[in-house]
Every structure is written in C-alpha cells, then in structure tokens.
C-alpha cells in the first residue's frame, strides 16, 4: 500500500522558493493546491535541500526557517544543517 510523505506549506512569496525546490528535487511529487496552502506528497520520502532553496532565494537559508511557512506534514522528520526531510523509510 502507498505511504505518502507529505509537507503542506503556505502558498505565499516566502514559501515559493521552497515549493519550487521541492518540486525540482523530488521527482514524482504530487501537488495539491488549496486556497492559501499547497500540499506536496511524495511516495516514501520528501526532501527540502538547503542548497536548492538558496539558489532560488538568492541568499543563505537555514532549514529551520521552514518553521515560518510549514502548515502540516506526514512522515518521520529529520533535519540537519543541509536539509529537512520527512520519510516513512527506516
């Protein structure tokens, strides 16, 4: 049975580079648009890479800044200085 890892983010200017980075770095990601929010689902795991976000944002970005735009998630979370991920893998 399918196990989707998921992040829901604000749909605003601040989150846009993160949303774009997720779409670029997670092939097969499913995008569900809701008024005000966007839900990104990916089979097994989903990763947000600092370098990809910084490239789009044009400044340094601390993965913990995701706290400002995250609405919901599914999966076990792991974060360090270079990325933020949710996953059902062990």
């Amino acid at each position: 049975m399918s196990q989707l890892a998921s992040l829901t983010l604000y749909h605003n200017d601040e989150a846009r580079p993160i949303i774009e980075a997720i779409i670029a770095d997670n092939p097969g990601v499913r995008v569900l648009n809701m008024p005000g929010a966007v839900k990104l689902d990916c089979e097994g795991s989903l990763v947000v890479k600092r370098a990809s976000v910084e490239e789009r944002l044009g400044r340094t970005w601390d993965p913990q800044e995701i706290h400002l735009v995250i609405i919901s998630m599914a999966g076990h979370l792991d974060e360090d200085d270079d990325q933020f991920s949710v996953s059902w893998k062990h």
């Binding site: 008024p35 929010a37 913990q64 706290h67 609405i71 919901s72 979370l77 974060e79």
Partner: protein, 504 residues
C-alpha cells in the same frame, strides 16, 4: 584560528540535555508522582529522540517572527473593514462555533501540556511538552484577538468563556479535553499529542482554514495557519511519544492500543462539528468533509498505521465505522442544530438549491437519498409558517455527550441506541465506540456532567427554556434562531446596500 562551528545536531544536544538532574534530598518518585500509576514502563528516558532540533533561543526567535506577521494581517484586516468583504453574513457563524467550542480547547491543551511538561521525568519530552504548552497559549490568544474584531459587529461571540462551560453542545469538546486532562500524563500525551494532533487536527486546521481564505477571511486563515505552523512540531511530538512508549517495553503495547482506540473514537465524535462547519456553514464550500477524511484519515492515517504496525500496533478500533460515517455525519449534525436553533448561540439556515446540488455531487451515495428530502420538507414547512423546532430535550450519549441522533452503521434510517448497566443505573450511548469507552472506565464516565441531566436536576437556572438560555447568558433573539431575520442579517444587508450605493 576560530573554533569550528558546531552542527545542528551537536548544538541541540549541548543546549537541551543535562538540563535535569537526579534529585538527592527527595526521592525521584516523590518529585514525579504521576508517571508510574498508568502502568507504562520506561527503561531509558535518554532514548527519547527530538527530530525537531529546536533550541529555546531559536524557538523564541521563530515564534516572535510568526506573531509579527500574524498581527500585521489582523491589523490590516481591521483597518480595511475586512468583515464587510467576506462571502456572506452567514460566514460569521463558523467563527462563533470556533471561538466558543474550539479556542477554549487550545487553553485546555495549554494546561494539559504544562502538566505533562512538569510530570514526565525525562528531559526530552519535558522540553517538548513545555514548548507545546506555550504554543497552545499563543493559539487561544491569537484566536481571541482575531475574532474580537468580529465581536464588534456580530452576535453570539461576547460570552464565549461563560458559554463554553455551560451550553449543551459545547460540553462535547469540553468533556473531551476534561477527560484527557484528568488522565495520567502518558494517556494525555497519546490522547492529545498523538490521536488528536497527529491523526485528527489536520482535518480542522488545513481544509477548514483554507475554506476561511476561500470565503475572504484573511484574518482567520492567518491565525489558523500560524497555529498550524506550530502543529508540525506537535505532530512530531505525538509520533515520537508513541514510538518511544512502544520501544521501551512490550507491556506498553496493550495500554497504548487501548488509548489509541479510545481517543480516535472520541476525536472522531468531536470533529463531527467541524464536518458540519465545512459542509454547511462555509457559504462557499472548499472541500467536502468526506474528501478531507479521505486525504487526512484514510491516506495519511493509513501511512502512519502501516508504519506503526512494526510495533504490533493496529489501526484504531471502529476506524471502518468512522470512515463509513463520513458520508453522514455532517448532514446529521446540521439537522440537529437546525431543530435546536432556539438553544444555539449561532444562526442556522437550510442550504439553498445551489448548495444542495453541491452536497449531492459530493455525497452521491447519501445526500439525495436520505438528507435532501428532509431539508426540502423543512423548507416547505417554513414557507407555510410552520418552521420545525424540536422542543424536547434530547437523550445524550454518556461518553461523547452528543444528542443521540446518529444512525446504525449500515442503516441510515434507524437511530443507533446502545445501553449498559453500572451500579444499578442505566447509561445510554450513541455507538459501540462510546459504549466500549464507558465500559472500560465506568467510574469515570458515570460522573459526566451531562447538560440535559443537569437541566432536569435543576442546576441550570430553571425548568423552562428561557430560564436555561438566561443561565447560558444567551441574548435571545440575537444570538440564537435562524440567520434569516437576525440582527446579523440586517447589518450584513446594510453593508451590501452601502457598497452598491458607493459603486453607483
């Protein structure tokens, strides 16, 4: 040469662990008296993992930033008279139910996590529970601030804390949290941290708040998503607590399973109110309750319980029944409130033809067959001057405290009715789920403060409906009854007329 900067994981370890100590002049069991009686066995508290490596200084920094953003939106909304720009005057009624029925539970969550943060003896869960306690206090504060703007114009909001402790339908969420807060700290963490926050609150804060945005209420969607940005931390705490308990000792499994079953069913019953808000009370509906249930319970809950199966945990008992009820619950709840509109502190209405067509499309198996005929009949009766009011006080379920208006699984034309005996008394239930919960803890649930029983016992201001409404501090004729003909409607129509005049 500068010292090498520590990585996030090391920095976190330095700033959180070692904050506690083994007590010396008092035994640890006296300092932490409540974390053993539930039968949960913990061998090693230090095995607790914190996936969000948020230190206290980073926590304050991010929370302050969130507050700045939120209050900028709330101010802008007030300055622009945003209340005149929502889709319809009926919209304000979701805020009335939110402020009277949901915001006070944020406060109960704040108190509950403060208790867990004091009484769990491991430092990891204690830090996380304390942060969550502060978050929940922030949630109720921001909700009161946001909705206070609507209170300047709309009825039904002014007495929310008084009403919360007394009004019949508000006892449903209140008793849910009272039950969790009067449990031990581990049950509280499974009840609120896991079952409610991880498995169920998405249903409240994601599609419903998105609906607020869709209906033009930028202030509510902003507090909703701002609260929800703390929620990913809360969900993570919920999932960590269950993994931790299941990994610590095999004896914990049956205890945890019993709590998961209980709190899933209780949460499902409370969220029936949200189902009705989404399907009936948003003038422009955004997603049906059934669709939300599929995404957030069937799909997300499915992935979660598939993962937890490795510990021997199975999906909550009666999950299949709850899923089947997603076809019915919003319709049955709205019908209850329509009949009892004289005793509710928000307005009701019948869905118009366009809204009924939306319901038919979203509920092809049930709406036209079971619910449309009832609403059409009530519409006809109202046209003939015989608007239907139910003047009898309903039998309440002893566990969930909801009037017993729900139907049998698999038979939507027969009311579901269960009962059991305890100490020579008969107790009534809306479902097998609620009956099982009572039978597992009859001493606790036999003490439930049931609004209808309390009225009959003379504890709610008197024997007549006006006496009881007075006890509720309900502004009769303004707070209650149908939207059509209410002061809210009159004001809304004036705003619309003004807009047309200005445009001409």
């Amino acid at each position: 040469m500068t010292a090498k900067k520590l990585g996030l994981k090391q920095r976190y370890a330095h700033m959180t662990r070692g904050l506690d100590w083994e007590t010396s002049y008092q035994p640890m069991d006296k300092v932490f008296p409540y974390d053993t009686f539930e039968g949960i066995k913990i061998k090693d508290w230090s095995a607790w993992e914190d996936p969000f490596r948020l230190t206290m200084d980073a926590y304050w920094k991010f929370q302050a930033e969130k507050e700045r953003k939120l209050y900028a939106v709330i101010d802008a909304f007030a300055q622009n008279n945003g209340q005149t720009g929502v889709t319809d005057g009926r919209y304000a009624n979701v805020l009335k139910l939110f402020l009277t029925g949901i915001s006070p539970e944020e406060y109960q969550a704040h108190r509950g996590f403060a208790y867990a943060g004091r009484h769990l003896r491991g430092v990891g869960p204690r830090v996380a529970a304390q942060m969550q306690s502060l978050d929940e206090l922030r949630h109720i504060q921001t909700q009161i601030h946001t909705i206070s703007h609507y209170n300047k114009y709309f009825d039904g909001l002014a007495e929310f804390p008084h009403m919360h402790d007394r009004v019949w339908y508000l006892s449903v969420p209140k008793s849910f949290f009272d039950d969790a807060r009067s449990a031990g700290p581990f049950e509280f963490m499974i009840a609120i941290g896991f079952a409610f926050e991880y498995v169920l609150t998405n249903l409240l804060f994601v599609p419903f708040m998105s609906g607020a945005a869709y209906n033009g209420d930028m202030s509510t969607v902003t507090f909703g998503f701002s609260a929800q940005s703390d929620e990913s931390r809360h969900m993570t705490l919920g999932i960590e607590v269950i993994k931790f308990l299941l990994e610590q000792h095999p004896d914990n499994l049956p205890i945890v399973q019993k709590w998961v079953d209980k709190w899933f069913w209780r949460g499902h019953r409370v969220l029936g109110l949200v189902a009705m808000m989404m399907d009936y009370m948003l003038p422009k509906p955004v997603m049906s309750w059934k669709e939300a249930w599929e995404i957030y319970f069937t799909e997300a809950g499915g992935a979660l319980f598939q993962d937890l199966a490795r510990y021997g945990l199975r999906p909550p008992k009666y999950a299949d029944i709850a899923t089947a009820e997603a076809e019915h619950i919003s319709h049955q709840n709205w019908a209850i409130f329509y009949q009892y509109t004289h005793a509710a502190a928000f307005h009701t209405w019948l869905p118009d033809a366009k809204h009924m067509d939306w319901l038919s499309e979203k509920y092809p198996n049930t709406f036209d067959k079971y619910y449309r005929p009832r609403f059409e009949m009530w519409g006809q009766m109202a046209k003939e001057g015989k608007r239907f009011y139910n003047m009898a006080l309903p039998q309440l379920c002893q566990t969930c405290q909801i009037p017993m208006g729900y139907t049998e699984p698999g038979d939507p034309t027969t009311i579901c009715f269960r009962k059991t005996q305890f100490r020579g008394e008969t107790y009534h239930f809306c479902s097998d789920g609620c009956k099982d919960i009572f039978e597992a803890e009859p001493e606790k649930f036999a003490q439930a403060w049931l609004p209808v029983h309390q009225i009959f016992q003379g504890n709610c201001g008197g024997a007549t409906i006006p006496d009881v409404l007075n006890y509720y501090r309900m502004n009769v004729g303004a707070d209650n009854m149908d939207y059509v003909g209410s002061p809210d409607e009159k004001l809304w129509n004036e705003w619309q007329a003004d807009k047309i005049r200005t445009a001409v």
